[in-house]
């Protein structure tokens, strides 16, 4: 079977002053055509490094990678013709040019004539909605506008495979929702065949992706559909415990409890509360509550919750995605 993306024992090392750092280690991925493939992992897990290799910006240290059957090392030019890259938190264009001028420029360097470029810009404009800032300089746009522009730029060459590296990074809730909806439409309407999306936002991956690989410290630690991944923690019990604000290190004692598979803490600056999410291998809540009280942590609320992707990560890694 031919895959849109395939990697075989892909490894990438970086030599730093502290020694050799393995950003990717023995990555074996097979991405089917026609899906949104999600790569989920915390910051520094190796997601961007993988995208850099697949988009030919970086060479692997060892192993092989193929995009639409083309070798990213030996056939980089062929790969570049059929891909595009959209990275969150970046401004992929010239601030001195307007949105339209930037799109026209990039369309032309992809080889489109001026007339073809105009038609293509109209197409992406209809899809994404750029009218509001089409004639504004890029250096005057808001983050949300820039990300819409970035997505439009990524569609100019009608790529077969689109790499989306943290596409909603730094966006507010509303703009992130707009971008997510656009991404889903791209595949549903057949405008892009395959999307490889990286994110450290659990909900984003859960909402958008047909298949997910979880990456941590340069290694793929699990992969499957959302359901398949959630089944990995189907026997576990998940509780949310709201407590008065605490310092995360104070909860180290939870690790000594046998039933605790992992936990994560979210602080709320507004309410001054903290939410401890605990994944337990068996129902043992009374012992946990006792331990919390013994450590003078004031419990406000407690409720059992449904399994989420974060719990899969907690079970596999022992800590939350956002925890450093």
């Amino acid at each position: 079977m031919d895959y849109a993306i395939e990697t075989l024992h892909l490894t990438r090392e970086f030599h730093t002053d502290e020694g050799v750092f393995k950003a990717l280690e023995d990555i074996n991925l097979k991405v089917r055509e026609g899906i949104i493939f999600g790569l989920l992992g915390p910051n520094g897990a190796g997601k961007t490094t993988l995208i850099r290799i697949l988009s030919t910006l970086l060479l692997p240290t060892s192993g092989e990678a193929y995009v639409d059957g083309f070798d990213v090392v030996k056939e980089a030019n062929k790969v570049r013709k059929i891909i595009n890259l959209v990275s969150g938190g970046e401004r992929p264009g010239y601030g001195i040019l307007t949105t339209e001028e930037n799109l026209m420029y990039y369309a032309q360097i992809y080889g489109l004539s001026r007339r073809e470029a105009k038609e293509r810009i109209e197409e992406v404009n209809r899809l994404i909605g750029l009218d509001e800032f089409l004639h504004k300089r890029l250096n005057t746009l808001s983050t949300g506008m820039i990300q819409k522009y970035a997505l439009a730029r990524g569609l100019l060459n009608k790529p077969k495979i689109l790499f989306l590296d943290e596409p909603t990074l730094g966006l507010d809730v509303e703009n992130a929702r707009i971008i997510r909806r656009l991404v889903r439409r791209l595949v549903d309407e057949g405008l892009i065949k395959t999307i490889l999306l990286t994110s450290h936002y659990m909900a984003e991956v859960e909402e958008l992706c047909d298949y997910i690989a979880i990456i941590n410290k340069g290694r793929i630690i699990a992969e499957g559909t959302v359901e398949e991944l959630k089944n990995m923690v189907s026997r576990e019990v998940i509780y949310n415990i709201d407590v008065k604000a605490i310092e995360t290190p104070k909860l180290e004692f939870l690790k000594s409890i046998d039933s605790v598979v992992g936990y994560t803490v979210r602080m709320s600056n507004i309410s001054g509360e903290a939410r401890i999410r605990i994944v337990m291998s068996y129902e043992d809540i009374s012992r946990i509550l006792d331990t919390l009280e013994r450590n003078r942590i004031k419990i406000l609320r407690i409720h059992q919750d449904r399994i989420s992707l974060e719990d899969v990560f907690l079970k596999l890694v022992g800590r939350g995605l956002a925890d450093d």
Partner: protein, 279 residues
């Protein structure tokens, strides 16, 4: 090779360079700006010549011709060269678009060469102005009595070829180092000016460094240019100069092609396309 697509691409790159260069002001101010620097540069060299001639009491019109044409023609070469070399720094550090250019434009080598084209067009206009003005100031405009357009035009094209490839070579080196890229660019321009028979024949250089000067095609190119501008400028062997110039130009094209491919490999190996200093 789809020539129409390549023409579109190169035209877009020339347009981008114009926008990048001129975006900070209105067109009349920009035109004034592009002429001010070359005019003052040639004025300085003209008055240096006049001052030296006055003090030493040696008035040799051919010396003035040599200096003024050297400075003017080097401006043409230098404009393109700097334009190409500086592209790496501006795209990677300033605009942070280098990786998108790399993904979009089918060949980075050709992209860099195209980035120089606008500078060559501009350089041609300013260089012509410099030569006419400099020779007028020193009272030697009459020396331009030949102006053989076909060889001059051919030489300009050859000049674009070898100097743009030199630019690509230096850009290929600077792309490998985000930290020292600008230093490499600046230093190279200075070396070429020093060793290029721009202001003086290379025989006045210390014998140890004279062989270095022959690495560059600047000597033959400038000599031939001067020869086709003035009947009073003599060269020993025109055919030999043409042969040397063509051989060196072809050698540069070949060597730079290989060198750039190697550097591109190392750049991808180290992931240098996106590395910025964050300064």
């Amino acid at each position: 090779m789809d020539i129409k697509s390549w023409y579109t691409r190169i035209k877009a790159v020339v347009w981008l360079t114009f926008k990048e260069q001129s975006n900070w002001t209105k067109l009349p101010f920009y035109i004034t700006y592009i002429f001010i620097n070359p005019i003052f540069e040639v004025a300085i060299f003209s008055y240096v010549y006049i001052a030296v001639a006055y003090i030493s009491n040696i008035l040799d019109p051919l010396n003035a011709f040599y200096m003024i044409t050297g400075v003017g023609l080097f401006n043409f070469i230098g404009s393109g060269l700097y334009g190409i070399i500086w592209t790496i720094h501006s795209e990677r550090e300033h605009f942070r678009t280098l990786k998108y250019t790399y993904l979009g434009f089918p060949n980075l080598h050709i992209y860099l060469t195209s980035r120089g084209l606008y500078h060559y067009i501009l350089g041609l206009i300013t260089s012509t102005t410099m030569i006419i003005l400099g020779l007028t100031l020193t009272g030697n405009l009459y020396l331009i009595d030949r102006v053989e357009l076909i060889p001059i035009f051919t030489l300009l094209l050859i000049g674009v070829v070898w100097s743009s490839q030199l630019g690509v070579m230096v850009a290929g080196s600077s792309i490998y180092s985000s930290e020292y890229g600008p230093l490499i660019s600046e230093a190279f321009g200075g070396i070429l000016f020093l060793l290029g028979a721009v202001l003086y024949p290379i025989e006045v250089l210390p014998p140890v460094i004279q062989p270095l000067a022959y690495i560059f095609p600047t000597i033959e190119w400038l000599d031939l240019m001067r020869y086709y501008l003035s009947s009073q400028y003599h060269v020993t062997n025109v055919d030999m100069l043409w042969t040397l110039l063509l051989v060196k130009t072809l050698a540069y094209v070949g060597i730079v092609y290989i060198y750039f491919r190697i550097m591109e490999y190392f750049v991808r190996r180290r992931g240098m396309l996106e590395v910025t200093l964050h300064h």
